[in-house]
Symmetry: C2
C-alpha cells in the first residue's frame, strides 16, 4: 500500500498547463459556476491545480470526489456477497441536483486498466450494473449535454507499467505523463491558443462534411470493404460543441475525431480492426466482422473472440453501429505509436466505428428529438457503446452521394479532399 | 505541495488496531450497514484499513469523502468574494438521505489547526456559516443520534509541527501518532477489551450523576465562578451509548468525559478558559465570558477575540450553552501534558462547556422528544456546537440540589464524592 507520487516525476509546468486547459478549454468554466470533480486520489496534484485555475476563473465552489484503487479492491477481497448489489444512489442523486443547478463536471481518467481483471467476473458485473443504475440520474445530464463537462487524464503507476513494461516505475510514469501532455496539446508554449487552432481545424472538417450530407461512407483497405450508411439528418461533430446551458466546451481532451451517427440498418460488407481493443481488462485483437443490412452476422478475433461474442450478445443493438468517426493517420496520438489501453486516447489514433448506442446530439436539432424520432432516422440504441479502430495508413475512405457517386475523403489514412 | 506520508512513519500494527477499534467499538458496524467516511486525504492509509475492517464486518458499501488542505486554501487564495457564501447543499442532502437509510458515519479528524489562521476572518466566517447551514440536514441526524457514528483521529504533519515544534517533521508525526494511539487506547494488546473496561468505568459515573439529578453545577476557581443550571429531565452520558437505530456505539475516540445538557436560560456568573481553543484554523486563547440568565453578555479573549465574537454572532443560540462535561484532571490525555489544538482530544483533558446546539439524547427518553419539548426543558438550539475547556487542577465542582444544598463532585480537578 503506497501512494503514487507523480508530482515528483511529472513536469510541473506542463501539469499546470493541463489544469489550465481543462478549466479554460475543456470546461470553459463561467464566473460563479460550481465545479464537481471526480478523480482517483493519485491525481491529487492535478486536482489541486484545477482547483486553483477554477477559482481564478471565478468558480463558486469546487467539490472534488476522490476514489481509491485499494479501497475498491478491499471490497472485492473482504465484502459479503450482498455488497455487490449496492451503490451510492444518494450521492449520484446529489450530483444530478448539482448539475441541474448548472454545476460543471470534470472527470479525471487515470484508471489501472487491469484493476479488477483478476476479480470474480460476476461480482464485477453486478457492482457495475448497480452503479450504472444508481448513476443514471447524473449520467443523463452529462450524456444529454445539459451542462459543460470535460474528461482529462493523469498518469497512474499501474497504467504506466502496462504501457511501458520494460521501464522502471518512475520512468514509465514519466513517459505516460509526457504522452498525455503531448496528446492533450499542452507541450506547447500557449496551449489555449493551440486548442483554438485545433478546434477551428476540426470545425472546418465538420462544416465540409455537413455541407456534403453524404448518404454513406465507403472504407476500403486490407481486410476491409465496408459501406456505412449515414443516418437521415445526421450531423458531424468534433472538437468544441455547445452544451444546453449555452457554454461552448471541449468534452474530451484529447480529441482528434470528427464523428456522426450511422444508419443502424444500412451497413454492409466486411471490416478488420487495425488496433487491439482493451475491453474490461481483456484484449481483443484482429477483429474481423461481416455486416448485412446493418447487423453483424459473423465475428472473429485472433484473441478474445469469446469476450467479443459476449459483447455482441448484450442486446440486439450491440450488433449494430452507433457511431462512425474519421481520424487522420497523422494524428499526434497515432504518430506516438502507443497503445494506451484507454478509449479516451486510443479512439483518437485511428478512424473507428462504435457498436451500440448512438449520440442523439449527432443529428440536426438533435437536442429536440424524441428517442422514437432518433430511431426512425436510423439511430441505434443499446446498453453498450464500444469503439474499435478500423483506420490505418492503408485505408481509403470515400463519401458516397445518394446518386451513388463517390468522392474521395481520405487516401492512405490522410484527408484527401 | 506534497503528500504527508505517515504510512512510512506510523506504527502499522497500532494503525490497524485503530481502524479495528473504529469499526468494532466506535461504530459497532452491523452486517449490511453502509458506511460514509469523511477524511482528509492525508489519512488515506487509515481509511484503507477502515474499509478493510468495515467490509470484514459485513458492510454494504463504504463511501469515503476526502478533503484536502491545499484545495481548501486555493479557495481563499483565488476565489471571487461571492464564493464564500457557497456550500455543497446537494452533497449534504445526499448524506442526510444515506443516514435516513441507516448508513453509519465515520469522521477522521486530522486538521491542521492553523490552516485558515492567516485568511480573512470575514471570509472564513461566511464560508463556515454557509457550510453549517447546508450541513444542517445531515448534522441533525448525527446530533440526534439517529445512527451509529464515530470520530477518530490521524496524524497530519502540520498538526504535528504545531504540537512538537522542535522535532523533525518525521519525529513530530511519529510522536503525534503515538499520542493518538495512547489516547485512543490502542497501545495495548487487546484494545477492544480495554474499551469495554473503560466504558464500564464511565457508566459508573453517569449512573451516580443520574441518580443525583442535580439542579445545577457550580464551578469555582481562578477567574471562574459559574453556576450552570441543568436542563429539566437531563441525562448524563459518557462512553458507549445507544443510537436511535438500536446500535450501541462510542461516538468519540478518545473519550474521557461524562456530559449532559445545561438549561439554556439558567447559567450565571463568569468563567475563564483553561486551554486555548482551536476553532476552524484560528487559536482563541484566554477566553473570559460573563453569563446572565443563560446568555453570554460579555466576551473577551487575549487572542482571536474577533473570531470569538463572530462565532457568538452566528445566531442567538450561539450565546447559550448546549453541553456541560466533567473530566478529571488525571485523565490520560491531561496527564500527557500535550495540548492537541483539537477538541476531540483537548475536551478530554479538562471539564468543559459548549456553546450552541444541545444533544437531545442527553435527556431522559431523549429519543422521543420533539424539538419543541427539548426547548421547553431548557435545551438550546444553534447552528454551532463549540466546546471549550474550563477545568484544571485548580477548579472545584459542586452538585447543587433544588433546595440549594451543595455536594462536592470534584476537588482540585479530581472526582471527590
Amino acid at each position: 500500500m503506497s501512494y503514487t507520487l507523480p508530482e515528483n516525476i511529472v513536469d510541473p509546468v506542463k501539469l499546470d498547463r493541463l489544469a489550465e486547459v481543462a478549466v479554460k478549454v475543456g470546461l470553459r468554466l463561467q464566473e460563479g459556476q460550481d465545479l464537481v470533480i471526480t478523480a482517483p486520489v493519485c491525481a491529487l496534484p492535478l486536482v489541486r491545480l484545477i482547483a486553483k485555475h477554477a477559482y481564478q476563473a471565478g468558480a463558486g465552489l469546487v467539490t472534488p470526489f476522490f476514489s481509491d484503487d485499494q479501497i475498491a479492491l478491499a471490497r472485492y477481497q473482504h465484502a459479503n456477497d450482498a455488497s455487490f448489489d449496492q451503490a451510492a444512489d444518494w450521492l449520484y442523486e446529489g450530483m444530478a441536483k448539482a448539475y441541474s443547478k448548472n454545476a460543471a463536471r470534470l472527470a479525471i481518467a487515470a484508471d489501472n486498466p487491469l484493476l479488477l481483471s483478476s476479480q470474480d467476473a460476476g461480482k464485477v458485473s453486478r457492482a457495475n450494473r448497480a452503479n450504472s443504475k444508481a448513476y443514471q440520474p447524473a449520467l443523463e445530464k452529462i450524456a444529454n449535454f445539459d451542462i459543460n463537462w470535460n474528461i482529462i487524464s493523469y498518469p497512474n503507476a499501474e497504467w504506466a507499467a502496462l504501457m511501458f513494461p520494460d521501464a522502471s516505475p518512475e520512468d514509465a510514469t514519466r513517459q505516460l505523463a509526457d504522452a498525455i501532455f503531448a496528446a492533450s496539446r499542452v507541450d506547447v508554449e500557449d496551449p489555449v491558443a493551440a486548442w483554438e487552432a485545433h478546434n477551428a481545424a476540426l470545425k472546418e472538417r465538420t462544416t465540409y462534411l455537413n455541407a456534403k450530407n453524404y448518404h454513406s461512407l465507403h472504407f476500403k483497405g486490407p481486410g476491409t470493404d465496408l459501406t456505412v450508411g449515414l443516418a437521415d439528418g445526421h450531423e458531424w461533430m468534433g472538437g468544441a460543441s455547445v452544451a444546453k446551458n449555452g457554454i461552448i466546451c471541449n468534452p474530451n481532451i484529447p480529441t482528434e475525431e470528427v464523428f456522426t451517427t450511422p444508419h443502424a440498418l444500412r451497413v454492409n460488407g466486411h471490416v478488420s480492426s487495425t488496433k487491439p481493443l482493451s475491453h474490461q481488462g481483456t484484449l481483443i485483437d484482429n477483429i474481423s466482422v461481416r455486416f448485412e443490412n446493418g447487423r453483424i452476422v459473423e465475428a472473429k478475433a485472433s484473441r478474445g473472440e469469446e469476450v467479443l461474442n459476449k459483447v455482441l450478445d448484450t442486446d440486439e443493438g450491440a450488433r449494430h453501429l452507433g457511431e462512425v468517426a474519421l481520424v487522420p493517420h497523422s494524428s499526434p496520438i497515432s504518430k506516438s505509436g502507443l497503445l494506451f489501453y484507454n478509449t479516451l486516447f486510443d479512439e483518437n489514433a485511428a478512424s473507428h466505428i462504435a457498436l451500440g448506442q448512438c449520440y442523439s446530439k449527432c443529428f440536426v436539432d438533435g437536442a429536440n428529438l424524441t428517442p422514437e424520432q432518433v430511431k426512425a432516422k436510423g439511430g441505434n440504441s443499446s446498453l453498450i457503446h464500444i469503439d474499435w479502430m478500423i483506420g490505418s495508413d492503408q485505408i481509403d475512405v470515400d463519401g458516397v452521394n445518394a446518386d451513388g457517386s463517390h468522392e474521395p475523403l481520405m487516401r492512405k489514412g490522410e484527408w484527401a479532399y
